[in-house]
């Protein structure tokens, strides 16, 4: 799926990935690719504006750690992020059911 089609869906996808445990930007992109079976194909840099945006919204929190002698920013889901993710999952399932009902 090209980057344009992912627009509008990237935020909940990032939240779902980070829900699995604290991770840095590169790990988020790799996990996104892995879980989607390679279907999500977007410029990897675009995950960083999304991470920063979600942190500004209070859905993620981040801190510097050190890895292999360099600084690494690690993100984790906040309680508010968890609630938003749960709401996003409900909305998506409802939407998917409705689309499936129309298409089939």
């Amino acid at each position: 799926m090209a980057g344009d089609a992912l627009k509008g869906h990237l935020d909940p996808l990032v939240l779902a990935v980070v829900a699995g445990g604290p991770m840095h930007g590169y790990a988020v992109i790799e996990e996104l690719k892995r879980r989607s079976g390679g279907a999500f194909d977007l410029p990897e840099g675009t995950v960083y504006p999304a991470l920063h945006r979600l942190e500004r919204a209070g859905l993620l929190a981040s801190a510097w750690t050190e890895a292999a002698g360099r600084r690494r920013r690690v993100y984790r889901l906040t309680a508010r992020g968890r609630r938003r993710l749960a709401a996003g999952r409900r909305e998506w399932r409802g939407f998917a059911r409705a689309v499936e009902a129309v298409l089939s």
């Binding site: 840095h24 930007g25 410029p43 990897e44 960083y48 920063h52 920013r73």
Partner: protein, 271 residues
């Protein structure tokens, strides 16, 4: 990549710790995968700037609204504390009396309108992570006008205190000057925040809506102006027990409203 991204981030106004953080994250990403496709540095920098500028403009509008609420409280409080209303001619100078009236009456109304319109737009567009450059520009302009008008209002309050210091009790003048000074602090803070975030370059395409987008069917300047004139007439008539005084002030309000609308309609996107 990081060198080019650093230049592009600087070009869109992202500097200091925020730029360092972005570059450190990108460098870490490239260290994990040197062949990673991070996209075009200019587009990436533009995306950061658009989103940062959008959230900063919305936040600045909220901060300004809070600071202007304090200005309004200062105005209402100092006027309510007046032991008696002095005659305009009894101040140190009629010119100063006229100036303070102009500053307070016009400043307060402009601050109210610009601040409310800015707040309405920020609220209406709150779900969007990146607004078009034209919309961010409207938010910034409304914010700037509201803050400037708030400062003018406080200046009017201070001029009042000085002008009538011989006529009114010393405690009122001191209280008024202290209140105006105190209310200026959060206003200055909001102005600083506004100035800092206004340096971000926004490139998102798209048009900005006018006042109809914010107010819907209520975006009618003539009925609103007529309402303001009627309100001034009725309040003054009641307070001064004089229809003539009320009518004179209502005419002044009508002229000021029309002049303000014509002068500010482009700046505040009132079409």
């Amino acid at each position: 990549m990081t060198g080019e991204l650093s230049r592009e981030l600087g070009a869109v106004g992202i500097r200091g710790r925020r730029r360092e953080r972005i570059l450190a994250e990108i460098a870490d990403h490239l260290a994990s995968d040197p062949d990673a496709d991070l996209g075009d540095p200019r587009s990436l920098a533009a995306q950061f700037a658009d989103e940062l500028a959008t959230s900063a403009a919305r936040r600045a509008t909220g901060t300004s609204f809070a600071a202007l609420a304090l200005v309004a409280a200062a105005l209402v409080g100092t006027q309510a504390a007046l032991p008696s209303y002095p005659d305009i001619a009894s101040g140190r100078s009629v010119a100063l009396s006229g100036l303070s009236i102009l500053f307070i009456v016009v400043g307060a109304q402009v601050a109210f309108v610009a601040g409310c319109l800015g707040g309405l737009r920020a609220l209406r567009l709150r779900g969007r992570p990146a607004l078009p450059a034209a919309e961010v520009a409207v938010l910034r302009r409304r914010n700037a006008v509201a803050l400037a008008a708030g400062a003018v209002t406080l200046a009017g309050i201070a001029v009042d205190a000085v002008n009538f210091s011989a006529e009114l009790p010393a405690w009122w003048s001191l209280l008024t000057l202290a209140t105006a000074g105190a209310a200026m602090l959060p206003l200055a803070g909001a102005a600083l925040a506004h100035a800092r975030t206004s340096s971000l370059v926004v490139s998102g395409a798209g048009e900005a809506g006018g006042s109809r987008a914010d107010l819907g069917p209520f975006a009618q300047p003539v009925p609103i102006g007529a309402g303001a004139v009627a309100a001034v007439l009725l309040v003054t008539w009641q307070a001064e027990s004089s229809f003539v005084e009320g009518a004179l002030r209502a005419v002044a309000e009508g002229v000021a409203f029309a002049a303000g609308y014509l002068a500010l309609r482009r700046l505040l996107a009132l079409r």
